[in-house]
Amino acid sequence: MNVWIAIAVTAIGCYAVKLIGLLVPEGVLERPLVQRLAALLPVALLAALTAQQTFADGRLLVLDARAAGLAAAAVALLLRAPFLLVVAAAVVVTAGVRAMTG
């Protein structure tokens, strides 16, 4: 039951914030500062998420095979590889490093 409560609260909350973003009146968005912020906030959030999902284990910071995988993804991006290849590079290298280091 607890799990269903968590799922319901998350689903409602996440849908609400998506909708709020779309419904904010245009006037608010015409200010240059708001426009700049709205453009930069995704950059900040994605950067923080990338770092956390690569270096976090619960609330601990760790350096493990995921870092090698992310480095491989970065190289693939610099070589302008297609999206699926970028993700595949990260998965394969991470699995490879884990297989080698046991």
Binding site: V3, I5, A6, A11, A44, L77
Partner: protein, 273 residues
């Protein structure tokens, strides 16, 4: 806003992106990320959620980072409200994506409640990368539809296959999430300002992780955006003051021209992707 539209029309006139190219890009992102629903299905089932709970999450929450955060917190024994709060905090970024998208897509009011479920990292990135409103709408719709269908399908398969796969970490599937985020982020890092924001956000996100509850550090990291803008503003003010002290004439006018030029460059870069 008017200038942005004019810019978009200009692109359209001197060779807009063909619809087919937009669809191809959108499918690329939609398929690649949609397939990573497999990793979520496996993780969720491995965390002890039932098949229906796992599938309902992908159907109704449909924002990957929040879903991963929720099952992680529940597996770690968090109470349902703390777990949901962490997932919710991660989902708040979609509100900011919606701010941008409502300008770019200019959807009719009646459509917005339906489009809202698709307002996520990937659809935003694809839509914002397009030179025209038409291309942005196509990109948003194709990415949203492909991703929604595939994400839910692969969630189901992953949950069903969780037992057969065993340890998902051994397969490197936990690296799919950050790789997806990096691929989405990379095209946004075009100016020094954007790189500075990303750098500050990484430092904040990692430094605060051990001390704040799950999900909160990412929200605090969002402060990197106003902080960098504020620092930029300060630097400009300082330069202006120095110029005045060195006795340059008409410096204020020059600065104002510089500012306008900066703004125009920003807008062009944004429009270009």
């Amino acid at each position: 806003m008017a200038e942005q539209t004019a810019l978009a029309d200009m692109h359209h006139a001197d060779g807009a992106k063909p619809d087919r190219a937009v669809v191809r890009d959108a499918l690329g992102v939609g398929v690649a990320v949609g397939l990573s629903g497999f990793a979520f299905g496996v993780t969720s089932a491995g965390s002890g959620l039932s098949l229906s709970q796992t599938c309902v999450l992908s159907l109704l929450v449909f924002t990957g980072a929040s879903q991963f955060a929720l099952v992680g917190a529940l597996a770690a024994g968090g109470n349902p409200f703390t777990a949901a709060a962490g997932a919710f905090f991660l989902g708040v970024r979609n509100a900011f994506y919606g701010l941008r998208l409502s300008q770019v897509l200019a959807l009719p009011r009646a459509v917005r409640p339906f489009a809202a479920q698709w307002v996520i990292d990937e659809t935003t990135v694809v839509a914002l990368a397009q030179p025209t409103r038409r291309a942005a709408r196509i990109g948003f719709t194709v990415t949203g539809l492909t991703l929604y269908v595939l994400w839910n399908l692969t969630t189901l398969l992953g949950a069903l296959g969780a037992e057969a796969i065993g340890d998902i970490d051994a397969w490197g599937l936990d690296a799919a999430g950050p790789a997806v985020f990096l691929a989405l982020l990379a095209p946004m890092l075009q100016t020094t300002r954007e790189r500075a924001v990303a750098g500050v956000a990484v430092v904040l996100g990692l430094a605060l992780l051990p001390v704040l509850p799950a999900g909160v550090p990412v929200l605090v990291a969002a402060a990197a955006a106003p902080v960098v803008l504020w620092a930029e503003g300060r630097r400009k003010t300082d330069e202006r003051r120095n110029d005045r002290q060195s006795g340059r004439r008409n410096d204020r006018q020059d600065d104002r021209q510089d500012d306008r030029q900066d703004d125009r460059q920003d807008r062009e870069q944004e429009a270009a992707g």
